[in-house]
Amino acid sequence: MSSEPIIFLEEVLVKRGNFCLEIPKLQIFTGERVGIVAPSGQGKSTLLMLLAGLIAPTKGRVCVCGVDPVSQPPQWRAQQLAWMGAELELATDLRVHEQVTLAAHLMKHPIPSQDITDEVLNRLGLAGFQNRTMASLSTGQQQRVALARVLLHPAPLRLTDEPTASLDKGWSNVCSDLLLGESDAVTVCFASHDPTLIGRADRIISPEGSPP
C-alpha cells in the first residue's frame, strides 16, 4: 500500500435537498479495498459520486488521484476511474463484447485482447454471450457485464455501487473475488449491503448522512 492517499477528503459537506452528508476527513490509499456500508439513504452513492466527480461538494476539499475530480473533463474519468453505477448504465444497443471494451475505446487505449476478454467473460459466466444485446440478458447477467466492463478497464481506481446487488450467493462470491482480488496497484471503493463482498474489504467506512 502506498503512503500517499489516492483519495483525500477534508471537511466535506454535501447538501442535496433535504439530504446532508458530512465527512470531516477521509483518506484511501492505493491498493486499498474499501467498503462503504450504511443503511439506505445514508449517502453511500453520494459519496461514490463525489469521488467520481459527478457531483460537487457544497464545501470542503475533494482530491482524487491528485486532482479535484469535479473540475476534470470527462476523459479524466475514463482515464482514472472504472465506474459502475447502481443503475449499471449499459448502452442498450451495444453487444456484450462492445460493452466490455467500451472503456478502452474511451480511454483511447489498446482494447483488451480477445483472450483476456474471453477469460473475464468466462469467469463471469458470460461465455457465448459476446454477441448478445442487453435486452436479451437477465438483470444478473447485465450486472456481470457491467462488472466485466469494470474489470477490463485499466484504470487505477474502481468505484462501484452495489456491484453484486442482483447476484445470487455463488455469483456474488465469484464477482467479489474478481473485483477485489487483483493487484495492489488498483484501488477499489465499493458501496454494498452484500456481506460476501463486505467481508473481503480491507476497510469499512460508514458515512452518516442525515437531514440537515
Binding site: A52, L54, P73, P74, Q75, W76, R77, A78, Q79, L81, W83, G85, E87, L88, E89, L90, A91, T92, D93, L94, R95, E98, L102, A103, H105, L106, M107, T133
Partner: protein
C-alpha cells in the same frame, strides 16, 4: 470517433425499423410535393406542346360569346386545322388559300362588310355588274350604291375593325375590290361583300347576336351553354332582321381560327366541359385554356398531396413518438456514458453519424418515392 462509430453502428444494427421509419417519414415529407409538382409540370408541358401549333383565335369576351364558340365546336366537332399567325400574315399579302382574320362587323370606308358564300349569292338576288366574285382572301365585291371612287375595280380599301370584339387580329385589313354588284333596290346595295371563308366566322356568329342598332343583344349575352348539335348558326342567321346574311350549312362553317379567352370561371368551366365533350380529350386546347387546365391539374395535384400527406403525417407523428421514446431512453444512456467518461462531443458525433445514415437512406427513399409519385400523380391527374 471510434466510440461514436460503435454507438451509431449499434443503433442501425439493433433498431433498423425505427430508423427506417424515420427515413420514410422524412422521404414522404420531401417526395410528395416534389413528385406531384413534377407530374403537374409534365402535364402542363405536354399540354403546351399540344397547343403550340394551334393559336386558336376567337373573340370571346363574354359568356355569350363563349357560348357561341362552344356551340360551334359542339356543332361541328371536326379537327381544327393548324393555323399560325405566320399564315395569317401571309394571307394578308394575298397568298392563295390563306385565311384572312377579319370580323364580319368590319367596315370599309363606312361601308358594312358582309360575309357570304358564292353559292348563296343568287338566293339574295345578287348579280355582278363588273369584275368577278371574291374567291381569295382579302377580296371584296362592292354593292351597287357604294362609292365608285373608293370601290372601283382593283382599288385597295382598308377595313375598320368595329372596336367591339376582343380579337387579337390586326385592327385593319387591306382589301381589294374585285367586283361590283348590279343594283337590287334593297339594302344589299349599300354594303360590300366578302367571301365567308376569308372572314372570322365566329365573330360573324357574334355579329348575329347584335341587335339592329349594332349593339350586343343583352338577351343572349348571359345564355348558358348550348346543347351539342343545336342548329344555332342556321337559326341565328335566319332570325337576323337585316336579311343581309348568307345562309350556310353547318358543315361548311370554316372555323379556321379560334381563340377562347374566357374571362370568368363560368365561361372557363364551359370551355373545359365542351372541349372535352366535343373532342373527348384535351388535344385542341388553346394555350390560355391549357394554362387554366394546368391550374386545374394543380388543384387536383393538391388533392393528391392531401391524400398522401395525411398518411404521411400519420407516419410522421408515429415517427415523432418513436423519436421521443427513443430520446428518453437515450438520455439515460448518455448520462451513463458520460459517467464512464464519454465526452459530449463524442455523443454528438455518434448522433451525427446515425443521422447521416438516416439522411442517406431518406435521400434514396425520396428519390424512389418522387419517381413513383410522379408517375402515380400524372396518371391520376389525367
Amino acid at each position: 470517433m471510434r466510440v461514436a462509430w460503435i454507438l451509431a453502428k449499434s443503433r442501425w444494427r439493433e433498431r433498423p425499423s425505427t430508423l427506417l421509419l424515420l427515413s420514410l417519414a422524412i422521404a414522404l415529407a420531401a417526395a410528395v410535393p416534389t413528385g406531384t409538382n413534377q407530374a403537374v409540370q409534365r402535364e402542363v408541358q405536354k399540354l403546351r406542346q399540344q397547343t403550340q401549333g394551334i393559336p386558336l383565335v376567337a373573340g370571346a369576351g363574354s359568356a355569350g360569346q363563349t357560348d357561341l364558340v362552344l356551340a360551334a365546336l359542339d356543332f361541328d366537332p371536326r379537327s381544327i386545322p393548324t393555323a399560325t399567325w405566320g399564315l395569317v400574315e401571309a394571307a394578308r399579302q394575298d397568298v392563295p388559300d390563306g385565311v384572312l382574320p377579319m370580323h364580319l362587323g368590319h367596315q370599309a370606308s363606312g361601308v358594312t362588310l358582309i360575309g357570304t358564300e358564292s353559292d348563296v349569292v343568287s338566293t339574295l338576288g345578287l348579280t355582278l355588274a363588273s369584275g368577278r366574285w371574291c374567291i381569295r382572301p382579302g377580296e371584296i365585291v362592292a354593292g351597287a350604291n357604294t362609292s365608285l371612287d373608293r370601290f372601283s375595280l382593283g382599288n385597295i380599301v382598308e377595313s375598320e375593325a368595329p372596336q367591339k370584339f376582343a380579337l387579337q387580329a390586326p385592327p385593319t385589313q387591306r382589301l381589294r375590290v374585285v367586283g361590283r354588284c348590279a343594283p337590287t333596290g334593297s339594302p344589299a346595295d349599300q354594303v360590300a361583300w366578302t367571301n365567308l371563308t376569308t372572314t372570322w366566322v365566329l365573330d360573324g356568329l357574334y355579329h348575329a347576336h347584335q341587335s339592329d342598332s349594332g349593339q350586343p343583344n343583352n338577351a343572349t349575352a348571359d345564355r348558358q351553354i348550348l346543347a351539342p348539335n343545336t342548329p344555332l348558326i342556321r337559326n341565328l342567321y335566319d332570325q337576323d332582321g337585316s336579311g343581309l346574311h348568307a345562309h350556310i350549312s353547318k358543315s361548311e362553317l370554316p372555323i379556321h381560327l379560334l381563340r377562347i379567352t374566357p374571362q370568368d370561371q363560368r365561361s372557363l368551366t364551359m370551355v373545359r366541359t365542351n372541349l372535352k365533350l366535343a373532342y373527348g380529350a384535351m388535344t385542341a386546347v388553346p394555350e390560355k385554356v391549357a394554362d387554366e387546365l394546368a391550374e386545374s391539374f394543380a388543384a387536383r395535384a393538391k388533392l393528391i398531396q392531401l391524400a398522401v400527406v395525411v398518411p404521411g403525417l400519420g407516419v410522421s407523428l408515429l415517427a415523432l413518438l418513436v423519436v421521443w421514446l427513443d430520446w428518453q431512453r437515450r438520455r439515460a444512456e448518455h448520462a451513463g456514458l458520460r459517467r464512464l467518461g464519454a465526452s459530449q462531443w463524442m455523443l454528438v458525433g455518434s448522433f451525427a453519424l446515425e443521422l447521416m445514415g438516416t439522411l442517406i437512406i431518406s435521400i434514396l427513399l425520396t428519390t424512389a418515392l418522387t419517381f413513383g409519385l410522379a408517375i402515380f400523380a400524372a396518371r391520376w391527374v389525367m
